[in-house]
């Protein structure tokens, strides 16, 4: 009867390293969430379609390639096209400090850097999911 938080964890672009994404997926799973994991090398189009079909509460994007300022804006464009702009987007991975405010300006709800404690991550995802639920 209760809603279980649904989170899409996606790796986009040419980036073959998914250990971080797997740690996050596993951590959120152990916090009782349903995690839809897309695997490596996804396009923004695939990620947004998956998020819309799965009706997730949060999209989590992992990037270590440095292409975040190119790929993340595309995600927001596509979410709008899909009528799914109510889904909050979190970004994690290797993100230079200077880019964090720029990502926030684009509409990214949270940026998780490598030193984010896992408990904080869980708490923040729960907050993001709750904010969408109450919308």
């Amino acid at each position: 009867m209760t809603h279980r938080i649904r989170v899409l964890i996606a790796k986009i672009g040419l980036d073959g390293h998914d250990r971080g994404a797997k740690v996050v997926a596993r951590t959120l799973r152990d916090a009782g969430m349903d995690i839809i994991y897309t695997g490596l090398h996804r396009t923004p189009e695939e990620v947004v379609t998956a998020a819309a079909q799965e009706d997730v509460d949060v999209i989590g994007i992992s990037l270590l390639s440095g292409a975040h300022m190119t790929l993340v804006p595309r995600i927001f464009e596509l979410l709008k096209e899909a009528g799914a702009e109510d889904i909050p987007v979190a970004v994690g991975g290797v993100i230079p400090d200077d880019d964090v405010p720029r990502l926030r300006e684009l509409g990214v709800a949270s940026v998780f850097l490598q030193d984010t404690p896992l408990d904080d991550l869980v708490k923040r995802i729960q907050e993001l999911a709750a904010s969408r639920q109450s919308r």
Binding site: R4, I36, A50, R132
Partner: protein, 336 residues
């Protein structure tokens, strides 16, 4: 989130993908809204052919679902896929990874994929699966594929949901005695031997065929064929989809479609009734707690208690539903 079920149902029937996604969330959440949405959708479903794919973990069920969906699209059918993966028995969370094998389907608006967790269900499916299939069906998907969790030998709930059941096997998991055992292999309408480029695939095909021959042929209008494929390379998929079509035709011609449908409906109603009973026992709105106390004190037998509770539940559930669903059409409630 405020939700207008009437307009949601209408948008689902119009084929809106976003409405379908939201509707699936509603039915997965369960409760009164799920029931109300299901009741609105149900009469509009029934046109789709529902195919179940089951088999052990790692046999290639998701990859086969993708391959079948792609071929069905070439043949002009729209496709819905419900892919089930297990919930953790500890945290209740899950990693739903079936989509990884189907990522390219996202680029085709004629295919809708939804991942679901088992939520403690033991038969290989999840509690909301039947309602989810109806939603996809009512949204216009002509082929609905339900992929079970990776199963062992005994999770056969899919036969009470799908019109055609594919059991996927791979070479290397055991000898001919494994194919003789009761359980999952018995429910196959079609045997698929995946990864058929591996050694001993032909042996497995022969074993499965010989088991099919052992069954008394006179009782059966349909002998389950054994078909080989390499799903990841999309080899051998055409004969499988052909066999699904032939099976549907055979069911219709022999009249078995109707009896199978009755069996599916009966199992579904029974599951819902069990769920209602489960949620009513222990609910403070009735006297079940007091009666359970009497059973605990051995003042009342468990069988007698169950019968009395069942009788009183009927009245209780009726009252609780009327109170809880303000959207119920007025003519139904006034008729009572």
């Amino acid at each position: 989130m405020t939700l207008n079920l009437e307009s949601l149902a209408a948008d689902i029937l119009k084929g809106s993908a976003r409405a379908l996604a939201r509707g699936l969330t509603v039915v997965e959440k369960g409760g009164v809204a799920a029931e109300a949405l299901s009741e609105r959708i149900y009469r509009h479903a029934g046109a789709a052919h529902v195919v179940g794919i089951t088999g052990s973990p790692g046999t290639g069920k998701s990859t086969l679902a993708r391959a079948l969906a792609r071929l069905a699209r070439v043949r002009g059918l729209t496709v819905g896929i419900v892919a089930v993966d297990p919930s953790s028995p500890f945290s209740g969370g899950s990693i739903l990874g079936d989509r990884i094998r189907m990522n390219d389907l996202s680029m085709d608006p004629g295919v809708f994929v939804r991942s679901m967790a088992t939520r403690g269900a033991l038969g290989g499916l999840c509690p909301a699966v039947a309602d989810s299939v109806d939603l996809m069906d009512a949204a216009g998907k002509k082929l609905v594929i339900v992929e079970t969790v990776g199963v062992g030998q005994d999770e056969v709930d899919i036969m009470e949901l799908a019109q055609t059941v594919l059991v996927v096997s791979v070479p290397g998991l055991g000898d001919d005695i494994q194919t003789l055992k009761a359980g999952i292999l018995e429910i196959a309408d079609l045997h698929v031997v995946n990864k058929a480029d591996r050694p001993e695939a032909s042996r497995l095909v022969a074993d499965l065929n010989s088991i099919a021959m052992l069954a008394a042929p006179v009782q059966r209008a349909w002998v389950p064929p054994v078909l080989s494929c390499v799903a990841v390379r999309e080899e051998g998929i055409e004969p499988i989809l052909d066999a699904v079509t032939q099976h549907a035709a055979a069911l219709r011609n022999s009249g078995e479609m109707e009896s199978r449908h009755r069996r599916i409906v009966k199992a579904r109603v029974l599951r819902i009734a069990q769920q209602l009973l489960k949620s009513a026992i222990g609910n403070p709105g009735n006297d079940s707690e007091a009666m359970l106390g009497r059973v605990a004190r051995r003042d009342l037998g468990p069988h007698a208690c169950a019968r009395v509770l069942l009788a009183s539940m009927a009245a209780f559930n009726e009252a609780s539903r009327d109170a809880a669903d303000p959207l119920r059409p007025p003519q139904e409630s006034s008729a009572r």
